[in-house]
């Protein structure tokens, strides 16, 4: 009744091709983004920023990155943790080598460096497909983590191999280091995520995105209609690694503040982000956010509910939480194998014909 586009006439191609052609969608998204930018910074606390919103936003960005490669272009990758590490270490080296460099430029450069590394590891994707590619990228994961453990130049010869972020400012507000206010770190991260999500959405509906999807759906057919697999796949690797690299830089510099390669960027991170896009929805930007929210916020919500709400012992709640998370993942995948984004879409379809379903 409320959610239907009857009467919304498009009079130009521009209007017809808008990101959100339905007015209700558009207003809803604008309201959410406005609230995120204007309202949240005034009410945010240390706990909300560091425990909930920062990890959610940063993992959402990484999930968008992986979704570009796996969801849109169909190249299965298990190297995400390693690429996060490249972004983090690139930002650390740039920040310590050029202290005057603006932090936004540092992060973009970290993304570019990661993109180059990603392309390098993407080259075998021409000959290796499917599960075999997953194994090849798995090798990159282990190699990169090993490299950052082994070569002291990457961690500036610190005694323990830990990297620690120096304090940096944007427009006079500290955004890294322990003295940064939660509102500043949140807005900074949100800015990155919002801009890059918008870019990803547009990339995916444009020429490049369509050629990715053509490769994903059937690479031989795509080649026959004139899409060059080498170029397309490598662009997907580059863009995806760029996103993951920026996410890695944010993860290290803004959220954690210090990191060591084995723990912060281990293989479990690769799986975590892969699970995010599978649960959220392959080939969907919205799905990346939903998957990230599900995988980062749900465990904390379950824990807080059990420990604070029901008074369960923390250790027991941890075990129960693991079981519940597993059950929920199975539940959602049975209910909708195409992920939470598809559930959301179905809900919208139902809303459009409500109250007269046919």
């Amino acid at each position: 009744m409320f959610y239907r586009e009857a009467g919304q006439f498009k009079t130009s191609y521009r209007a017809d091709q808008a990101l959100f052609p339905i007015a209700q969608d558009r207003y809803f998204v604008i309201a959410v983004v406005l609230a995120a930018f204007v309202v949240v910074p005034f009410v945010i606390t240390d706990y909300w920023a560091n425990a909930l919103l920062l990890p959610f936003l940063i993992y959402a960005l990484a999930a968008i990155g992986l979704n570009i490669l796996t969801g849109y272009c169909g190249q299965l990758s298990l190297g995400t943790g390693g690429f996060l590490a490249v972004g983090a270490y690139a930002s650390y080296k740039l920040m310590t080598a050029f202290p005057e460099l603006n932090i936004i430029i540092v992060f973009l450069l970290s993304g570019l460096i990661t993109a180059m590394v990603g392309v390098l590891f993407g080259i075998p994707s021409l000959r290796i497909k499917g599960f075999y590619l997953a194994v090849a990228t798995l090798a990159s994961q282990f190699f990169i983590v090993w490299l950052f453990n082994k070569v002291p130049w990457f961690f500036n010869y610190s005694a323990t191999g830990q990297i620690t972020v120096p304090p940096r400012e944007v427009l006079g507000f500290l955004v890294t280091g322990p003295n940064a206010s939660p509102a500043a770190t949140y807005l900074f991260t949100l800015g990155f995520v919002a801009v890059f999500a918008l870019m990803a959405k547009n990339l995916a509906r444009g020429n490049v995105g369509r050629s990715w999807m053509a490769i994903r759906d059937m690479d031989i057919a795509a080649e026959i209609i004139g899409i060059r697999p080498l170029k397309t796949k490598l662009i997907a690797f580059a863009v995806s690694s760029f996103y993951i690299g920026v996410a890695g830089a944010l993860l290290f510099a803004v959220w954690l503040g210090s990191a060591e390669p084995t723990e912060a960027f281990g293989i479990d991170q690769s799986f975590l982000i892969l699970f995010m896009i599978i649960i959220g929805g392959l080939g969907s930007i919205l799905g990346s956010f939903m998957g990230a929210a599900f995988m980062t916020l749900m465990p904390i919500f379950l824990k807080n509910f059990m420990v604070d709400g029901l008074g369960v012992q923390p250790a027991l709640s941890e075990h129960v939480q693991i079981v519940l998370m597993g059950t929920l993942i199975i539940f959602f995948l049975i209910v909708e194998p195409h992920g939470l984004a598809r559930l959301w879409q179905i809900a919208k379809e139902k809303l459009r014909i409500w109250p007269f379903p046919y």
Partner: protein, 436 residues
């Protein structure tokens, strides 16, 4: 779980936080009772909590003020640690100190506690250079550091070989957890290997440490004279079992104090006999304090983990106990200095800095001869730094300390501490404070 339960739960939580309480000393406990490090995390967490519970039950708290423990499960994961820190720092009347029992988490928390003004007490772990109180105002690592431990392990090896000059040409292998924790002793050992002419082999083991076949194959091939180990969690048990299977002489295998508890050696059975580990306190439950704990905490039904009763007195349990004891004394000292019943985290920090637990005081607290006396000053946050060696008797299933307490070699670690803390000060724009 339906909506009704959810709302009820949330309402209960709101009611709990909403109602007014009398002042309590808030002590967050960042435990890990799950994951691959749980076998070591559980005894420590139990000892830590039991001591505070005992103070509440027997003495009515510290100086008559009750202690409130706020547990949070970290699984030895730094990301969960961040969440736990943020969640607990404003709990109750505000966290008075943190002891995360994780070197990785310590590195993450050092800048945060410095900004938030909460003392961080990392007993024998964490960042070694925090011993320099001029730079690390909020961090304490009483009673000794990893670098002290490394010098003692070398001294012990030298004693058994007949003097420091006999180390020349010897081979020492370090099997370490490939993380900030395991890498801590490397710098000291490197300096010592140059000075004393022994050859140092570094053998990293990746998290969680269940797979060490290659490492021990290498040891079998190289035949080092000594193997030192900086291990934690399941890595310890696996290493000792592997060492036994290649028949490496156990009395030449020395673990750090985190690699020398009952559950590390028991899985290897009789073959672990003679395995050595560093130690800074006695094992066993024969102290008056343990009797009180059994009486007030376990028999009183107040224990966090009631099934643990028979294991009270294990090495890591005692370690949690002494961690809590020193921290409790620091809180007491802070309360006495500022003559208050409601100390703030900053006042507790002053207490840590004036901490003075002599052997006589230990006896009063029910632990006669348990460990050495410690004294903290403004410049020295690590205390005396003494370490002994303990040995495992597989037949009696008992640890016992077999040497006197060694003095650490401050001439070696001193300059390294200066260098590392100066680096931290420079990175974080800290001007070292003056200490009178």
């Amino acid at each position: 779980m339906n909506l009704k339960q959810l709302t009820l739960g949330l309402a209960a939580a709101a009611a709990m936080t909403g109602s007014a309480y009398a002042y309590e000393l808030t002590v967050p406990t960042l435990d890990y009772r799950t994951g691959p490090y749980a076998p070591n995390g559980i005894p420590f967490a139990n000892g830590f909590s039991d001591y505070f519970t005992l103070l509440n039950e027997r003495d009515g708290g510290i100086n008559g003020v009750k202690i409130k423990l706020v547990p949070c499960e970290t699984s030895y994961n730094t990301k969960k640690g961040v969440e736990c820190y943020e969640k607990t720092k404003n709990a109750g009347n505000g966290a008075l100190f943190y002891s995360p029992l994780s070197t990785g988490m310590t590195y993450q928390l050092i800048p945060k506690v410095t900004a938030d003004g909460i003392p961080l007490y990392t007993m024998g772990y964490g960042r070694t250079s925090a011993a320099n109180g001029k730079v690390f105002k909020w961090v304490f690592n009483v009673p000794m550091t990893y670098w002290d431990g490394a010098t003692v392990a070398v001294q012990y090896a030298a004693d058994k070989s007949g003097g420091m000059d006999k180390l020349k040409g010897k081979k020492i292998a370090l099997v370490y957890h490939n993380s900030a924790y395991g890498k801590e002793p490397i710098r000291t050992l490197e300096v010592m290997s140059k000075k004393y002419g022994f050859e140092l082999k570094l053998l990293p083991v990746d998290h969680p440490g269940q797979e060490q076949k290659a490492t021990w194959l290498q040891i079998r091939r190289d035949r080092p004279d000594w193997v030192f180990m900086w291990g934690w969690g399941v890595m310890n048990q696996v290493a000792i079992k592997e060492a036994a299977s290649i028949r490496f002489p156990m009395d030449h295998f020395i673990g750090v104090w985190w690699s020398g508890s009952e559950n590390d050696v028991l899985p290897a059975g009789a073959k672990a006999d003679g395995y050595k580990a560093l130690a800074f306190h006695a094992p066993g439950a024969d102290f008056p304090l343990h009797k009180d704990i059994i009486k007030y905490v376990y028999d009183g039904g107040k224990a966090v983990d009631p099934s643990y009763k028979d294991r009270v007195g294990e090495v890591l349990y005692n370690r949690g106990l002494v961690n809590a004891l020193w921290a409790a004394e620091a809180i007491r000292t802070g309360m006495n200095i500022h003559k208050t019943k409601e100390p703030t985290a900053a006042q507790v920090r002053d207490g840590f800095e004036a901490l003075d637990v002599s052997e006589a005081r230990l006896k009063e607290l029910g632990l006669p001869g348990f460990t050495f006396g410690v004294k903290v000053t403004c410049a020295n946050h690590k205390g005396p730094g003494k370490v002994a060696v303990q040995s495992w008797d597989a037949k009696a299933k008992k640890w016992s300390i077999v040497t006197d307490f060694y003095q650490p070699m401050d001439d070696i670690t001193g300059p390294l501490v200066e260098e590392d803390s100066a680096k931290f000060a420079k990175e974080n724009n800290i001007t070292p404070r003056e200490c009178k």
